[in-house]
Amino acid sequence: MMNWGEFFNMGGYAFHVWTSWGLSLASMITIVILGRRKNAKIKAQLANQIRREAKINSDNQEQ
């Protein structure tokens, strides 16, 4: 059975090891989340625009 306290202590280098690993992990997660959010945003904006155009077209036809 391994000792978790000892593992997290990293032989006294806990700050150095975990900051480096943590920053790397955080950057990767941020990159993926931002990319996916942007994709949803672009699609929503375009869909809105298409809906608006369709509405303007049908309003024009009614007049």
Partner: protein, 260 residues
């Protein structure tokens, strides 16, 4: 058909398919998750072996485990720049639209890897060298690379007209590639606190297998992560650039119909 011409045919067709934004988008829809899963598995295995199984270094103790994020980030900082410069050159020479998209979408990713390499190196340097930062050749040239990435991004967004922006960005990217060999050979050309090549050293890697295996896994994990993130960013840019085209409008309309 002989294998050489079959391979050539395949590459030729792939090039032309990837050159079309629409084809690229379709292909990327399938390749993106594959790259994501590969990156995830490789990084998970690398992290497990690197943090739990690799023995502590006899001189640096457990602080050497920073290597498993520092070296992949530093390796990617150079590989991404070479990718950008190559894509930029292809874009300039053959006027391939998608090459510019690959170049500009890679820049923020490369900048992130460069910043990570600098920061993790700094954190590693404090306990081992006794200083966060020193103006030696390797560190300084890597810092210049970070500013070069900023320059590539800033140049692209400085122009209103997309074609001008792409060309200006590509020219800067191609000229800037001179920094890559300078960074790589900096530890040989000038005296440096930074150690020389350990993995790609003459006469094979200077590391025992139980330390080296996680490092290789992490490097490949980072590479697939770069591919994954690049596909996501490039898909976004294609959607945005081609928003007036029929296929993008149809793609988005299908989304409306399925989600509402």
């Amino acid at each position: 058909m002989n294998p050489v011409s079959a391979t050539w045919n395949f590459l030729y067709k792939t090039y032309h398919r990837l050159a079309s934004p629409r084809e690229f988008y379709t292909i990327a829809q399938y390749t993106t998750p594959v790259f994501g899963v590969l990156a995830f598995v490789l990084l998970l295995c690398g992290a497990y072996l690197g943090l739990f199984k690799a023995p502590a270094d006899y001189q640096q103790g457990d602080s050497f485990r920073i290597i498993y994020v520092h070296v992949p980030a530093a390796w990617l900082s150079l590989m991404v720049y070479v990718t950008i410069a190559t894509a930029a050159a292809i874009g300039l020479i053959w006027r391939m639209k998608m090459a510019f998209v690959v170049a500009i979408c890679s820049a923020p990713l490369g900048a992130t890897f460069t910043a990570l390499a600098l920061i993790t190196g700094s954190i590693w340097g404090k306990p081992i060298w006794g200083t966060w930062w020193t103006w030696d050749a390797r560190l300084t040239s890597e810092l210049i690379l970070l500013f070069l990435y900023f320059g590539v991004i800033a140049t692209y967004y400085a122009f209103e007209e997309r074609k001008t922006a792409e060309k200006a960005m590509a020219m800067l990217a191609v000229v800037g590639v001179v920094i890559v060999p300078i960074i790589h050979y900096s530890v040989e050309w000038w005296s440096s606190l930074h150690q020389g090549a350990t993995v790609f050293a003459e006469g094979g890697p200077r590391m025992p297998a139980d330390m080296l295996t996680p490092l290789i896994l992490m490097i490949f994990g980072f590479m697939f992560f770069y591919g994954y993130a690049l596909f996501i960013a490039a898909q976004n840019m294609v959607l945005n650039n081609e928003r007036k085209s029929k296929w993008v409008r149809e793609l988005v309309t299908v989304n409306i119909n399925t989600t509402h």
